[in-house]
């Protein structure tokens, strides 16, 4: 039984390391191919690294759990994961708000410019007819 649970934990750690490394490389590759802008990728890169560290350093999770008073260390992982998701989603809301504001301004300017352009064309037509 002893050896079985050891094998299990070891396997889980391997999967955790592989998973977080793949996630990290995936994010880096997206940045490299300019699919994510650097300024929007900071949180992803940061939490990708956090997950790699936590999967390599098993005691670390115990320390963190103890420090924040979580009795069962794996719960701490969930907590960190949730925090990461929250921060990234809030960042998305900020970016979306900024984009929609920029969009609104552009729409207004395009609308006004189209009107001015139509007016100018009209005037030019009147001039050439006169």
């Amino acid at each position: 039984m002893e050896s079985f649970s050891n094998v299990n934990i070891f396997r889980m750690q391997i999967i955790a390391i592989a998973g977080s490394v793949v996630l990290f490389l995936f994010i880096l590759n997206l940045i490299r191919r300019k699919r994510i802008k650097e300024e929007y990728s900071l949180l992803w890169v940061f939490f990708g690294m956090v997950f790699i560290v936590l999967s390599l350093w098993r005691q670390g999770l115990d320390y963190i759990a103890m420090a924040i008073g979580v009795a069962y260390p794996p719960t701490a992982i969930l907590l960190i994961f949730l925090m990461a998701m929250f921060m990234i989603l809030i960042q998305f809301s900020i970016i979306i708000s900024r984009l929609s504001d920029a969009n609104k301004t552009l729409c207004q300017e395009i609308g006004l410019m189209k009107m001015e352009l139509a007016k100018m064309k009209e005037e030019k037509k009147d001039q050439s007819e006169a």
Partner: protein
């Protein structure tokens, strides 16, 4: 366009979203009452024939927004145009025919006497209502007015009315920032916070002739109330942004 140095330099701004059924009659009435005044219709990417109807009224300016921005974005387009072209006053009214053009001149009066910066055409002045709104809507407006009083200490009876007139300073201010969805109550708070004077004048409102209210049908009353109240509170706790003009 009129001579920019005359005191009667007014731009009538009409935000329009799918108002083909009512906007023609409105423009006709305005033309009869106020021939020669500048009118700017902001067509908020209507799906119907609103722009075609407007173009039949020669001399009316139309901005066709390439995407639907919502009433706030449309009205603000009018403010931007007015600010850039140095209009002294803007009158904003709805395209659905519930605001009567005959009242425009009354809305402008206090502005021209420089008694105030913004005039709201209110359906609740003098205690009695000139407008038979449903119970839910009346209650909603009461709640909004209560919050307005709570947040600013000023009593504005009809914060939701979209029938308003502004002087040059208010136009400049609102062209820089204006809320998007259901902007009217937020704009009131914003103006009061930034020391603009607001007064109300009782006007008659018709039940809408056609089209749908942007409040009860588009997205639901609950969303409306939450959005408006949150927006009002946030506007109230934001710092003042007005940088120019004589503060009262």
């Amino acid at each position: 366009m009129k001579d920019k140095n005359t005191p009667d330099n007014v731009l009538i701004v009409i935000p329009a979203y799918n108002e083909e059924a009512s906007i023609g009659a409105l423009l006709q009435e305005i033309r009869v009452l106020y021939g020669g005044w500048d009118i700017l219709v902001v067509n908020d990417h209507s799906a119907d024939r609103t722009p075609e109807v407007v173009r039949r009224y020669k001399g009316t300016m139309t901005v066709d927004l390439p995407r639907n921005l919502g009433i706030g974005g449309a009205v603000q387009t009018g403010f931007i145009y007015a600010a850039r072209n140095h209009y002294d006053y803007v009158v904003q009214l709805d395209a659905d025919g519930q605001h009567q053009p005959a009242d425009i001149i009354r809305l402008l009066e206090p502005l021209k006497k420089e008694e105030t910066d913004v005039v709201i055409g209110s359906r609740f002045c003098n205690g009695k209502s000139s407008y038979r709104a449903g119970f839910a809507r009346r209650t909603g407006i009461r709640i909004i007015s209560f919050f307005c009083w709570l947040l600013t200490g000023k009593k504005v009876k009809d914060c939701t009315s979209g029938f308003r007139a502004y002087n040059r300073e208010a136009i400049q201010f609102l062209s820089e920032y204006y809320p998007i969805d259901y902007p009217e109550p937020e704009a009131v708070i914003m103006l009061i916070k930034n020391r603009f004077r607001i007064s109300e004048i009782q006007v008659c409102m018709h039940p809408r002739k056609a089209g749908k209210s942007s409040i009860s049908f588009r997205r639901g009353t609950t969303y409306y109330m939450f959005k408006v109240v949150l927006g009002m509170i946030m506007t109230a706790i934001r710092p003042k942004t007005r940088k120019y003009g004589k503060l009262q």
